[in-house]
Structures are given as C-alpha cells and as structure tokens.
C-alpha cells in the first residue's frame, strides 16, 4: 500500500504524541526484535528483559530520534548495545586468536566432508545448534543479516565494526554452520 507510513514517519508521529503510530511500529518490529534477542542471548528470560528494555529506551529517547537514522538501525542499535552490555557482564568474549583457531579447524576442504542426506527436522535442529554455538559477534552479524535483513554497512553501523570485519564475521559464521551440518 502506497499510503502506508514508513517506520521513520511513524516514529516521528509517536514522538509527537500519536500512540497509534507507536502501536503500528511495534507490531511491525516486535517479532524480528524478539527473535534477534532470543537467538542472540539464547535465554528466554534474558530476551524478555532486553526486549522490554529496548523498547523502553526507545520510548524514552523518542524526542531525540531524527529521521536521518533508519528506524530499524536505531532500534537494533539500542538492542545491540544492551546485548553487548549483557555479554560483557556475563562472560568474557572469545579472543580473536581463539576464534581464528576454531575457524581454521572448521574450514576444512569441502571434499573432506561427508555429504549426508539430512531430514528437514535434522536440518533445522542443526542450524539451531549451530547458531547457539556461534561466538557472539558472529551470531549477531548472522542474525542481523538473516533475521533483520540488513546489509554489511548497516550491520557495521550497529555493531561498530568495519565493512570487511562484518564480512569476515559472516564468513566465519557460515563456516561454523557448515561444519555443524557436516559433522
């Protein structure tokens, strides 16, 4: 529908006091944001908490929102900042060297890997496990790409990484997922 308002227009309308605009905005993004948080954090309670916190901060900062910033990026930046804080408090991140070592082990030539016919259920299960096992940065990059449909630049903007770094993280993530399917 051509007359449908954009996210940015809705956000500005909400900042101006239009509650219906917020409800529409919320309906559009609730699922994507929730799945991003749930799959990133892997714990429902944490996802619930940060989901609410993300919206809460967005609501609080509504008057500072400027339409130059894409709404999705704005929302996910808030969520990502909360996720990073949470990870930082929970456990230490894997160092770059560790990540590299794991990646080298996983990035075996394709011919070495046995091809298996996996059932649909098994495929989904393995993807789920693979996602859970990804290092945080790779999982975030992967989810921002696949769940939120963002490009390299946008992912970089949200995570504070350069384009090439994002690409590299996606590559690592893919390699790990592939390794999970091959095992």
């Amino acid at each position: 529908m051509g007359s449908e308002k954009t996210d940015e227009e809705l956000m500005l309308a909400y900042a101006g006091g239009d509650l219906l605009a917020f409800e529409m905005l919320y309906r559009r993004h609730r699922g994507t944001l929730y799945r991003f948080l749930l799959r990133t954090l892997r714990h429902r309670a944490d996802a619930d908490e940060l989901f609410q916190d993300t919206w809460s901060r967005l609501i609080a900062a509504r008057e500072r929102y400027r339409p130059e910033a894409k709404f999705t990026t704005f929302l996910l930046q808030i969520a990502h900042n909360l996720v990073v804080d949470r990870f930082r408090r929970l456990k230490p991140q894997a160092s770059d060297e560790e990540t590299e070592a794991v990646f080298r082990n996983l990035d075996a030539p394709e011919s070495d890997e046995p091809e298996r016919a996996l059932t649909e259920f098994e495929l989904r299960r393995r993807l789920q496990i693979a996602l859970e096992e990804l290092p945080e940065e790779q999982r975030v990059a992967f989810l921002l790409r696949i769940e939120s449909g963002l490009g390299l630049e946008e992912i970089g903007e949200i995570t504070g990484a350069g384009r090439e770094t994002v690409k590299s993280r996606l590559r690592y993530a893919l390699a790990r997922i592939r390794a999970r399917f091959a095992s």
């Binding site: 917020f22 609501i59 930046q77 408090r89 649909e120 993807l127 696949i146 996606l170 997922i177």
Partner: protein, 290 residues
C-alpha cells in the same frame, strides 16, 4: 549446506541458509511483554506533558495561597480600623488577589490529588476572614490591638492598593516556610534527575524538564541573591552535559575522568546512555558503567 561465501548470505533471502533459517520456529514475544511495552508507550505520551502543567499549577496555587495568607494576615491587622470597612459586605477588594486561585480552581479537574489539597485550605482561609469581618462589625475586638493598627493606618493610603504592595509587614514570615519546601523540592528534583540514569520507565521526557526546573530555580535563587546550599551542582552540570553533542559529551566525560571526578563522570555517562541509547559506549569508558 554448501554455502562458503558471505555473498550467499547477502543475496536476497540469505540463500540456502536463509531459507532454512526461515523454517525455524518463529518465536514471538509473550503477550505480557506486548502489554508492558504498549502501556509504557501510552504512559510516556499521556504523562509526558500533564505533570509539567500540574507542577505549574501547584506553583501558582502555592503562590496564590501565600499571597492570600499574607493579605489576610495584613487585613486582620487592619480590619477593625474603620467601622465602614468592618461593616462592608464580603465583596471587599481583598477578593481581587484571589483571582489566580479561581483560575486554579477552574483547572482543578486537570490537577490530581496533590493540587486538590490546596483548595480546601483556601476555602478555610476565606471563612476566618468572613468571621473576623463579622466580628469587627460587632466591634468586640475593636479595642484590642489599637496602637499597632493605628501606626499602620497612618502609613496606609486610603484607597485599596494591590495586595502584593500592601502586604510587607505580616507576610515577612511567609517566605520562610516557602524557602524550605522549595529547597526540598530542589533536592528532590535533583534526585529525580539522577534517578533517571538508572530508572527504567521514567524516561527522558520527565527528566529534561526536571533538570530544567532545577536550573531555573537555581537561576531564580541567584537572582534573589540567596545561596542555595541544597541545590546539587552536579544536577546543573548534568543538565549542561545534555546540551552537548554526543561526541563532545563523551570527550567531556573523559575530561572528568582525567580530573579525577569519577563519580560525576559515571553519572554523566549513565545519563548519556539514557539520552543516546543507540550510541555505543566507547571501550575506555565502559568500566564506569560496571
């Protein structure tokens, strides 16, 4: 699963893995979260502006109450001076300063419990005035404080001047009770401003006006030439910080760190996070949030 290059993921839909991902369970937030978020959004919209109005109304109401009290106090001192005045019906010029209170009463339906408490006291204040006028008419108190009244009567012009101009002697005590609650409110406001850094649902909407109010009061106080010992300077500084561009704000926080003002740097950074939730906190400042 043969995808090896991130370009596979960057294709529309994310390629093979993207297809598989979309076949995973599509989790949705529970309804209680929907309710909580939507309620909060509604609260922010509905309670964002009225409180400011209510605070204003309370202020005006308090000021009007003080003026009335001062006027009544002064009037009590003058009441029996002339029999004509004493015998006058209730529609005396003293009603004139009550005008703001009527405005306040009209706006009362907007104001919550806090402001309503003003109204009865104003009514109660009117009652003794009427009683005393009646008493003056009977003349049973006519002779008591004569010397004092006489002095004032000599200095008072015959015409009814505005209440504020007439008020000086008795109201002299009035600012004293006002001064303490004002400072107390200042401290409370400052506390609120600090709380917003940690708080969850308060939000910036309430915070900015609160900080502004603190600053405004501080300015007023300085204009009056009165010290404000209870006004926390950090609140004013935080308010100033909020005016900075994000990068300047972060630089200012670093400056505070270098000056050894760690507590203030922490407060400022917490406020920064609330004001700019989409901004990443630089690594060198993260420790302040722990």
């Amino acid at each position: 699963m043969t995808a090896r290059d991130p370009d596979d993921l960057l294709r529309d839909g994310g390629g093979e893995i993207g297809d598989l991902y979309r076949r995973l369970p599509r989790y949705e937030p529970p309804r209680r979260l929907d309710r909580a978020v939507l309620n909060e959004a509604a609260r922010a919209v509905h309670s964002g502006k009225p409180p400011r109005r209510q605070r204003w109304i309370v202020g005006v109401g308090s000021a009007a109450g003080l003026v009335l009290a001062a006027g009544l106090a002064w009037r009590i001192g003058h009441e029996p001076m002339t029999k004509n005045d004493a015998a006058m019906p209730t529609a005396s010029p003293t009603v004139v300063p009550v005008q703001p209170i009527d405005q306040f009463s009209r706006g009362k339906h907007e104001a919550p419990a806090g402001t309503e408490s003003q109204a009865p006291s104003l009514d109660a204040a009117r009652a003794p005035a009427a009683e005393q006028r009646a008493a003056g008419a009977v003349g049973n108190r006519q002779d008591q404080p004569k010397p004092l009244r006489k002095q004032r009567a000599e200095s008072k012009p015959a015409s009814a001047a505005p209440m504020q101009a007439e008020a000086p002697p008795p109201p002299a005590a009035a600012p004293a009770p006002k001064a303490f609650p004002t400072d107390e409110r200042d401290a409370e406001q400052a506390k609120d401003a600090d709380k917003t850094q940690q708080g969850f649902s308060g939000g910036l909407t309430g915070q900015a006006p609160a900080a502004a109010a603190v600053e405004k009061r501080a300015t007023t106080t300085n204009v009056r030439g009165r010290a404000s010992p209870t006004l926390p300077s950090s609140s004013i500084e935080l308010q100033r910080d909020m005016q900075l561009a994000p990068s300047d704000w972060l630089a200012h926080i670093r400056d505070l760190m270098q000056q050894g003002r760690r507590q203030q740097a922490t407060e400022s950074l917490r406020l920064f996070v609330r004001a700019h939730p989409e901004r990443r906190v630089p690594e060198d400042l993260r420790e302040l949030l722990d």
